[in-house]
């Protein structure tokens, strides 16, 4: 039935984490756009403040709740807003699970809210493995042999029946958390226990490792019209999670007959579950006999559907939303092609390759091997006209130091080992394996990867060997470019510099052509603005300005999401583009990340789904002749292009490149601060271990050790003594041999604050001070931010503002900037300065209701503003909290330190610090059901936390503590249950109380940030993570958290929308209804 309600609630996905990332900003945003087009009032619940979908922009939701996605909170929102319908399929597994809870608890029925799209019963059939299996068996579709288990004993029995090795999966999970190969009963005992702690049910399944893996994306309307929009093939076969696989679309190794079989089954499955909207179906195919299994059905938008959408240009989420509202496929216009209706299966005349982006190496002691659990934090998608071209383009998009396969910075001594036991580096190991003359069949034996893919990689390697042997020729150069070799890599092979190779190439008439994403197979002329570049082509599909125009602005996006560079920069790019278009500029966007909103067809005038490399940006700029290039809104990747682009004569908008370099280059920036008489922590650039030690001795330990150019604290570390320094120096030198190592004083017991702002020609237009809750020493990306600051001296604020003014003036800043400070009493020191939008820009913009990117874009265009912006005296508080993904990163020590580890963030607004903090904490998927708390606190911090614990004891909380803390507490009037530490024997043991789920929150404050996997503290922290028990490791956070428990633990939280809090508008529901 056509939906005729007036109000729809959309559930978002919360903070970005491994397994659930930016793709849901894309799908949620498109769903909202679909509602807008229908004139339906949209209400969004999502605490992820860095997303585009939570914008106040007119194109986005009518009402946004930056609130935790929990049952009580969403229930309260439903009670208040009284929506007619709800969208569950646009916010990932989080929204789906929450939706089912709302359904099960009859909240939806009570308030007459209908689930739009696939019905709740059908969703449950796809989620519950037992129902799933039985349902598909009924229609004769094969699924892996599997048995569900609710206890460890049941799991053991099931495994025995199926036969080891078996596959273990956890029901109702995201990204395959807790799944893996179980070779024996003893491993099963351990893993099943762990999994059942997180999920009510686990699956023991037939082991299909080595089978080929395919995914089909399906859309289906309420009358049963069904399409397969895209099929995708995982290059890495079964055994490696789809999110960890290199994925190719369309599938490459299927025969037409096989493809039609799978397509038919996919449609049959979608019909069986009565899917209305979008779903994704995963297949495993036995390479030996073609036998198949349906592995999984996601009755919602997923990471794969986002990829499929970007791969085909088919707006899957938008169409899914329309179908959920009751439209038929043939009634919906395909707004990308402009020519077709949505009832048209895309046909691709190109192919795309997705490669995941991992950051496991940034997390000390986390394993690098990849498998059935997702660990990657982002992805890129290369579009090309050959597999080689698309693959190598994708490599250059990853931003891991390789511009294509040939210049990957790591040399493998034993590539075979890497291939057989895959890590994030397997692709590069394969390449080097082939460079050394090894065969495809040997690689196939080691990896189970289809020989078709291996042969393509081998061809690239063989070509590189040929290039080295043969003399330079334009013919070879053209071939190299068609195979996807970068100018940079070719320059290296030919021992030239990149720019001179470029000149040679252009002079030889070898340049890429611009192609449209053409999914119409030539049946109609494609009219899309969605573009890519290829060397396989004769002419451009689009027209270009002949002369440079100031109305054309190139905006460089963020590239892949990684730790330290995430959805916040997509928000910045989208908002830049929106402002440009409002100012009647032509916004041309470049980005390489399929999980983004900026790569949506309607967010720019032209979209290049392309590499953010010096080479490719030049290619595009040469064609488009932009009046300016904005490099300061996409994070560090485009920021690093400022100097080379400016040197090559391209017009950079905003702060001058030489001044950007001055802020980035430690020596130059330090000299500037000295000249301005601004304090900074003592530091020295050391060229030898001896001089480093000497300097560290002179300033006193602890010291911070880092390479001079940094991205998200990579390779940073704190040395507490000379031995540790020696150890870290070895590692840091490996990371960046071109740069000396910087040793600086590591300041403890100091406050950290940052200023985000916008300036024009060295004058500040707007600035906002945020305070870190954690003392100095925690990376700013992992810190909890409070805005406005709640615990700073007025004098500190005054001095910080003055220093900011001086730096802004000295660097003649135009556009966005971010400066970080350390404050000890009223002594202010500057630690970092970025002349680009920072990760806190969306937070600051949405808390103050002044869009910093909008202001910055205008500033970069030279538009003056005389407006005065208030950012300090707000009558509410915003708290931004990091979202960690430690659960997925087995072995990583979950203590925030100088290297960033969080994968996302959330932010909530509240009446005061505690209100806002508590909501933000709940919004990070944390929660407590019982008043049970375990404390294990280093001596130094015991006294600080005592008053809170005394209060909780009085309030009837059950406290558990380890030895030292127990003695301290009992002496100070606090009774607690004693537990043995992991290194001790005896009951009650820490291990037992955790496994029995007697603890709801663990506060473990280590004495310092030295990470050692040998300590009791580490084991406590790791166990907390593995058993999904909320953990606090920072003393300042612990104080606030404990106060929240005292004040707010069992209180019903009143819910207010962003607009009600920030704009002081109370919604008059009657009025809204009248308007509608």
């Amino acid at each position: 039935m056509q939906f005729n309600g007036k109000k729809v609630l959309i559930l978002g996905s919360g903070g970005l984490r491994i397994g659930q990332a930016g793709e849901f900003d894309y799908s949620g945003s498109q769903a909202i756009k679909a509602l807008k087009e229908e004139g339906i009032y949209s209400i969004l619940v999502n605490p992820n403040i860095a997303t585009v979908q939570t914008d106040a922009d007119a194109a986005m939701a009518d009402e946004v709740y930056l609130q935790p996605l929990t049952l009580p909170v969403v229930t309260a929102i439903i009670e208040k807003e009284k929506p007619d319908g709800i969208f569950l399929s646009f916010g990932g597994q989080t929204a789906l699970n929450l939706g089912l809870m709302l359904y099960d608890t009859d909240v939806l029925a009570k308030h007459k809210v209908s689930i739009l799209g696939t019905r709740a019963e059908a969703i449950r059939q796809t989620e519950d493995r037992e129902q799933f299996k039985q349902g598909l068996a009924c229609i004769g579709v094969k699924t892996p042999q599997s048995m569900s288990a609710n206890t460890v004993a049941e799991a053991a029995l099931a495994a025995k029946q199926i036969g080891y090795p078996v596959m273990m999966r956890s029901g109702f999970s995201l990204g395959g958390l807790g799944s893996g190969k179980i070779p024996s009963e003893s491993v099963l005992q351990e893993r099943a226990q762990e999994c059942l702690a997180a999920a009510p049910q686990i699956l023991i399944e037939e082991y299909l490792t080595g089978w080929k893996e395919f995914e089909y994306e399906i859309v289906r309307d309420r009358s049963g019209n069904t399409l397969t929009i895209c099929n995708m093939e995982n290059m890495d076969p079964m055994g490696i999670h789809t999110g960890e696989s290199i994925v190719v679309a369309p599938a490459q190794t299927l025969t037409n007959r096989e493809h039609q079989t799978l397509r038919n089954i996919a449609i049959q499955v979608a019909n069986h579950f009565n899917i209305i909207g979008e779903c994704n179906i995963q297949f495993a195919i036995n390479p030996k006999n073609g036998d198949y299994r349906v592995i999984e059905v996601n009755a919602r938008l997923s990471r794969s559907s986002a990829l499929a959408s970007k791969a085909t240009g088919y707006p899957l989420a938008f169409v899914a939303a329309k179908l959920a509202l009751g439209w038929h496929l043939h009634e919906i216009k395909n707004s990308v092609t402009q020519k077709t209706c949505a009832f048209f299966e895309p046909a691709l005349d190109y192919l795309v390759v997705k490669i995941p982006r991992w950051d496991t190496h940034k997390l000390k002691s986390a394993g690098r091997t990849i498998g059935t659990e997702m660990k990657s934090v982002g992805e890129v998608m290369g579009i090309g006209r050959s597999f080689a071209e698309a693959l190598q383009k994708a490599v250059g998009m990853l931003n891991i130091g390789a511009s294509c396969l040939s210049d990957y910075p790591h040399h493998f001594n034993d590539p075979e080992e890497e291939i057989a036991t895959p890590t994030d580096r397997r692709l590069f190991a394969l390449y080097q394996f082939f460079l050394r003359g090894n065969t495809v069949s040997k690689a196939e034996t080691l990896s189970n990867i289809d020989p078709w893919f291996l042969a393509r990689i081998a061809e690239i390697a063989q070509f590189q060997n040929k290039l080295k042997q043969e003399a330079f020729s334009t013919h070879l150069l053209r071939q190299a470019k068609q195979l996807g070799f970068s100018d940079k890599a070719l320059a290296r092979l030919y021992k030239q510099d990149e720019q001179s190779l470029r000149k040679t190439r252009v002079a030889a008439g070898i340049y890429p052509v611009v192609k449209q994403i053409d999914t119409l197979a030539g049946e109609y002329a494609a009219e899309t603005n969605y573009l890519y570049l290829t060397y396989h082509g004769q002419e451009h599909d689009v027209q270009f300005n002949v002369e440079k125009s100031t109305d054309v602005i190139l905006v460089l996006g963020s590239g892949p999401y990684a730790i330290g560079s995430s959805v916040e920069f997509d928000w910045c790019a989208v908002n830049t583009s929106r402002t440009l278009r409002k100012l009647k500029k032509r916004a041309i966007l470049i980005n390489s990340n399929p999980e983004t909103v900026s790569t949506d067809y309607d967010e720019s005038d032209r979209l290049y789904f392309e590499q953010l490399t010096f080479e490719r940006v030049q290619d595009i700029a040469d064609l488009e002749q932009p009046g300016g290039i904005i490099i300061s809104v996409g994070g560090q990747i485009p920021n690093n292009l400022a100097v080379p682009l400016a040197n090559a004569g391209y017009p950079i908008l905003g702060t001058k490149a030489k001044n950007i370099d001055c802020a980035e280059n430690r020596e130059r920036f330090s000299a500037l601060l000295a000249q301005l008489d601004i304090a900074q922590p003592a530091w020295q650039s050391a060229h030898s271990v001896e001089s480093a030690k000497e300097f560290a001795q002179s300033i006193g330990y602890p010291v911070l050790v880092r390479p001079s150019y940094i991205l998200s604290g990579a390779a940073m570390n704190v040395a507490y003594d000379a031995d540790a320094l020696q150890e870290f120096l070895a590692a840091a030198a490996q990371v960046s041999p071109a740069h000396p190592v910087v040793i600086s004083k590591f300041i403890l017991d100091a406050k950290e604050l940052e200023v985000d702002g916008v300036a024009l020609n060295g004058n500040i237009i707007i600035d906002a001070i945020s305070e870190h809750i954690e003392n100095a020493g925690v990376h700013s990306g992992d810190a909890t931010l409070v805005l406005p600051p709640h615990n700073l001296y007025l004098e500190t604020i005054r001095r910080t503002k003055k220093i900011t003014r001086e730096i802004v003036r000295a660097l003649e800043i135009t556009g966005p900037f971010n400066i970080q400070f350390i404050a000890q009493h009223n002594h202010i020191q500057v630690i970092e300065c970025n002349l680009r939008a920072s990760r806190s820009f969306p937070f600051v913009s949405k808390v103050t209701n002044h869009n910093l990117i909008d202001i910055a874009t205008q500033a970069m265009l030279g538009i003056k503003s005389n407006k005065h912006y208030q950012t300090l005296e707000l009558d509410y508080v915003g708290v931004k909290a990091p979202q960690f993904s430690y659960q997925r990163l087995k072995g990583a020590d979950p203590v925030p330190h100088v290297e960033m580890a969080s994968t996302g963030e959330v932010a909530c607004l509240g009446d005061n610090l505690y209100d806002a903090y508590w909501r933000a904490w709940l919004a990070c998927e944390q929660g407590m059901t019982q008043k049970h708390l375990l404390v294990s606190i280093a001596d130094h911090y015991k006294a600080k936390l005592l008053p809170f614990l005394q209060k909780l004891d009085q309030l009837g909380w059950h406290l558990y503590s380890t030895d030292g803390t127990h003695a301290y507490l009992s002496k100070n009037g606090v009774g607690s249950y004693f537990v043995y530490k992991t290194s001790e024997y005896g009951e009650p043991h820490f291990h037992t109380v955790i496994a029995q789920r007697k603890i709801d929150l663990i506060i473990n404050i280590p004495s310092n940030q030295i990470s050692s996997t040998q300590t009791d503290g580490f084991k406590i922290r790791r166990m907390a993570i593995d058993h999904h028990i909320p953990l606090i490791t920072n003393p300042q956070k612990a104080q606030i958290m404990l106060q929240c428990l005292i004040d707010l633990w069992d209180k019903k939280l009143p819910v207010r929308s962003w607009r009600e809090i920030v704009c002081h508008e109370s919604i008059n529901t009657n009025q809204v209804e009248q308007q509608l």
Binding site: H958, S970, G973, G975, F978, E987
Partner: protein, 306 residues
């Protein structure tokens, strides 16, 4: 078959939670309906090597009400011990007459020694500063009686926690329940470390406090003991004068359900004006001694419950 038949009761550690429940439930039954005399053919010896009024009379009353015959003494002044006879010889001789021996002695471990030595069941009625299990059982019987439920209670132990044997047995009982303990004692009379360690490992929450007024509003039971003057020399006892005195002023902030317990005799710990308040429960507590001891004697001496 009754599991406690022919067993010794030397310390609470001899008992499982289930056995404790059996004793407390039987005592409860006896309090409502006086038992038939099931021990009419039994001889119980009350060997009080150390002076006692309440405990001895309570045991004797229990025995007599159950129809048993009793022998014994209430001080070692009149004994052959005075003539140089050893404890072991004395007990061996008495065990030849009695079916059960109730022993109190000034030396820690005396009851255990007796139990090892002789065949018939031995009940420890207090051995020096060590244990007094029947007192703890009657204390918990009383707590259950006045608060309905033992789990979840907050209990303050006040006074001489170092030498108070009733306290020591009391803490052993705590291990069987989810109890929050507040410990208040003069500085040199705090609970022995070994006992604290035991409490800790048994999952009992406890904390140390100085000021009774500070915690009075949090507790359900206030268990106070006298300073065990007999364990000190005269100048020492001056040093350990009890700093804790309960009066109506202090009780102003008490919870309505607070009950005060005391193993008695009291010296000056409780102001007599408190006796008339609803908080006073120490005399009811003393009266309960008979029911609990009846239950214990019945269980130790009957293979099958009557």
């Amino acid at each position: 078959m009754n599991a406690l038949f022919k067993r010794d009761l030397i310390t609470i550690k001899n008992l499982s939670k289930a056995e404790i429940d059996i004793i407390l439930n039987l005592a409860q039954q006896y309090k409502i309906t006086p038992p038939a005399p099931s021990l009419s053919n039994k001889m119980i010896a009350h060997c009080f090597f150390e002076a006692s009024t309440r405990t001895r009379l309570s045991f004797e009353t229990a025995a007599l009400r159950l129809g048993a015959k009793t022998i014994g003494f209430d001080s070692d002044q009149s004994l052959s011990v005075q003539k140089g006879e050893t404890l072991t010889d004395t007990l061996k001789v008495i065990s030849a007459y009695a079916d059960l021996i109730v022993i109190r002695h000034a030396k820690e471990g005396a009851a255990a020694l007796a139990a090892n030595l002789i065949e018939c069941p031995v009940i420890n009625a207090g051995d020096g500063a060590n244990q007094h299990p029947t007192q703890a059982l009657l204390d918990f019987f009383t707590i259950k009686e006045c608060q309905n439920e033992i789990n979840g209670l907050s209990i303050a132990l006040v006074g001489d926690l170092k030498y108070g044997r009733a306290i020591h047995s009391f803490t052993q009982m705590c291990a069987h329940y989810d109890i929050r303990l507040y410990l208040l004692s003069p500085e040199h009379l705090s609970l022995p470390t070994s006992i604290c360690d035991h409490l800790k490992k048994q999952g009992v929450r406890f904390s140390y406090h100085q000021d009774l007024a500070e915690i009075i509003s949090k507790i359900d039971i206030l268990y106070i003991t006298r300073i065990q003057q007999e364990r000190f020399t005269a100048p020492q006892s001056e040093l350990f004068k009890n700093p804790y005195v309960i009066n109506m002023e202090l009780l102003k902030n008490a919870k309505a359900n607070l009950k005060i317990l005391h193993p008695l005799p009291r010296v000056n710990e409780i102001d007599p004006e408190v006796d008339h308040s609803p908080f006073a429960y120490y005399f009811a507590q003393a009266a309960n001694g008979v029911y609990v001891r009846q239950a214990i004697l019945t269980l130790l001496l009957n293979e099958f419950l009557p």
